[in-house]
Symmetry: D2
Subunit: 270 residues, 4 copies
């Protein structure tokens, strides 16, 4: 089988560094991406964004198009959500990331976001991979729920093969027999991806564990294993969140975690 080439460390030895307006991903830094699972409310986003900026968050996240298992669940605000996210990010001086689910939404998502996210369920949506590969925006590529490390790197290869070299890999937990945690954070895959590829690799401890009390240990584990950053769900009122409330940190919990993670990263990376 022809395997990955452009994403390989054999092709490029040095870490790929992706430069955003106010921060960079890869090459020794530890980027913190945070925000609510879904953009639900303009006031909430406008209040939350500067709070996050102050505690050291580098990128604001929020979903406008929400892929949901059931057709009867909240599906996101769509373009209105994109506008709110963009407005909140601009006001706080934070670049933003949001998920693209349909190639036909590429123009509009492109306009409002700084990083385009490809979600787990679309990791092998090769059409979408090719489309974002033809843009000049960084892409955050989440590992599929049951994708092997090789399949994950090959999905990134689709993007690089189209010309876009700015891919951030994200390990977000795989599906296993264990049901206590929502997914199983695959620390070995994170370390392997760092070893095999020059692309930055971050972790999503929120989806990987699905439990608020496990987000901090999972986040620290990822950084200790060499992750280039974290993407974390935060919500001021988790019980009212329309999705993923049980795994969202409170802003004050996130502030503590960021301090611990920064201390840990400086210990690890020296």
């Amino acid at each position: 089988m022809p395997s990955y080439h452009l994403v390989s460390r054999k092709y490029r030895k040095e870490d790929t560094v992706i430069r955003l307006a106010t921060t960079e991903v890869g090459g020794g830094s530890t980027v913190i991406i945070a925000g609510p699972c879904a953009v639900e409310d303009r006031e909430l986003m406008l209040q939350l964004a500067p709070l996050l900026k102050n505690m050291g968050v580098d990128v604001l996240r929020g979903g406008a198009f929400k892929p949901r298992t059931s057709p009867y669940s909240f599906q996101g605000l769509g373009e209105e959500g994109l506008q709110i996210l963009n407005e909140a990010g601009r006001a706080a001086g934070l670049p933003v990331v949001t998920e693209l689910m349909d190639a036909r939404d590429l123009d509009i998502v492109y306009r409002y976001t700084d990083i385009i996210q490809i979600g787990s369920r679309n990791m092998q949506n090769f059409t979408l991979l090719r489309e974002v590969g033809q843009t000049d925006k960084p892409v955050l590529l989440k590992r599929g729920l049951s994708a092997t490390i090789e399949e994950w790197l090959l999905a990134a290869e689709y993007i690089l093969a189209e010309g876009n070299q700015q891919v951030i890999l994200c390990e977000r937990g795989i599906r296993t027999f264990e049901t206590y945690t929502r997914n199983t954070l695959d620390i070995g895959a994170l370390a392997a991806a760092k070893h095999l590829s020059h692309l930055p690799v971050i972790a999503d401890p929120s989806h990987a564990t699905g439990r608020r009390e496990l987000v901090a240990p999972a986040a620290k584990a990822a950084v200790a294993a060499g992750a280039d950053g974290l993407i974390i769900e935060v919500h001021p009122k988790p019980k009212e969140a329309k999705s993923d409330g049980s795994q969202s940190l409170l802003p004050e919990e996130l502030a503590v975690l960021i301090k611990e993670v920064k201390a840990l990263a400086s210990n690890i990376k020296k």
Copy 2:
């Protein structure tokens, strides 16, 4: 969590029966869908289709858009493949099924095919599910590689909720720790789907096993467990197939299997 409703046996007691020009799916019959993994060659398809018709195949399959793990693998013939498939089916008197991967291809796929397939990797591509839900063509919905039975039924619910009631569920093997077989045919899920839903459920023993010698036992197992049909890969020269050769039956092997399956089905269903 709101769960499935329209796909449930509680909503509709009797088996849904999907009528095609020359055959029907559900309600006691055992539909045989067969063809090569990918449409590669016009001559091959035109020769193969009447052969399949004569041995009792009900629907011709063939991929025009091939989702491949690597960007460097054969990606299918695209529209030309659709034309060839359509021509071969028409000539042999067989309805055809092919996979839709990109919502922007819906019109063209719609024009050339009798059943629209949603592949495993797109089982939770909710955009695609909604789009095919707004058509009047039957949809063959493959279970995702690591989708639970509930997620599979909820994916079908997306289609029914848009108005299209003609969904054929397809169990095609799940990803487990076992590597000897390509996937693990989940017979319990097939039986459970029949129990929980009124929709027809078929099995794909080719992808489920990935090994020619296991296709026949897996096919018989599925029918014995109550499957409404089978989708099987067949190729006159498996070694030359551009994809999935190792799991493709020879036409003469398929002819034997169809006889055995028909005998088995009449034993099971009486």
Copy 3:
């Protein structure tokens, strides 16, 4: 890695046939092993055994030593259970099978049983495998919850390497991400084991599905895939069973299933 040898079809082409007093396993027959999960009550066993004999059951099963996940669950009657099982089997003219969990119980289990079962959790208890390999009783070797096909055959190899050639392999479902069924019946592994080895292979649809309504379809699937027999849990009052009630058939349900399975087997094997 040195792999299996004595269990391979390359070493021995013809099916191994294991002869018991009143029946045989392998070589074309379809053995039916049935009984309650645990031996709980003498009266119940003495009443149930002749009922089972009359409906075509070939071997009586029942656990005396019950491996339970929790130390606070019912742990089996021990030697008293063995005596009851033996008495019930003798009275009804049925050979019996029960599980050995501790090498120190080998003498006593040997005395009371016709087939020694090695359970899933002990599939790689190599001490136990060697011990039963030195006896002259047939061994029913259940596949481990997460054992590959190769590991399963290597576990059998441990027994054959000690001199005991009478091993019956039993596929009883593997652990996967799916939670609707208790385990996932691996039909491909069953067919592969038949292909790779000369040893008889049976299936346990009760543990594989964990749901009464799925036992019959799973049982038929196994026979259609070539299984040499079935081991099924039956209990006259499933709700009162001390273990596994939800997957136990009623005797009358088992009687219907046996008829269907026998008809199916004669269709499949001719």
Copy 4:
């Protein structure tokens, strides 16, 4: 289902601390257990032990009874191996740990070892759990390859229920679909076990990853997630090791890792 009780944090709030002659496990320390997979050679062990002691190893490990997938692989030196391990540990001032596989070996293993290990394949060997529960030696209980967190804690409950409160839990990777790594280190389970139980929890990055280059990142991840220690395979000549060479660190690699881990632990635990 009756679940765990004695192992729960609800039963006992404070961390259990297990005291050995020269070190302790639990309560804030980070114990380092290291040694070769199997005891193969007296000279090697006598040379290696003081080297390990000098670099900060707290406990010496080595297998005398080796559970191997194939009956034709090296099976360990048995009692001779126990003697060598014991001699090497005594000479270097290191307590030792070795695996017990057969209840009939308990007396001899008890005599030579300071900690009794129950391996993954025996996590639900309830006989063995009860036996070690009746001793006064600390028990290192490895999580089964496909055991849920609850099953793991219930296995520990078997030991505590017999009176032995000195159990060290060990997360050593679970079996998933991923094949690049030998197993999948389950960091979420490690953190969950710390949260749910007062028992110390350590990690085995060697078996969890199966690859030398991933041992260090996995080890650090475990400590960052709150692990009370590590058990690591080390071998002066990995290519000549009779088992697990590809995952064994060189002594000099271990020395570096221990320094990094100690720095990390002091950062994490302050």
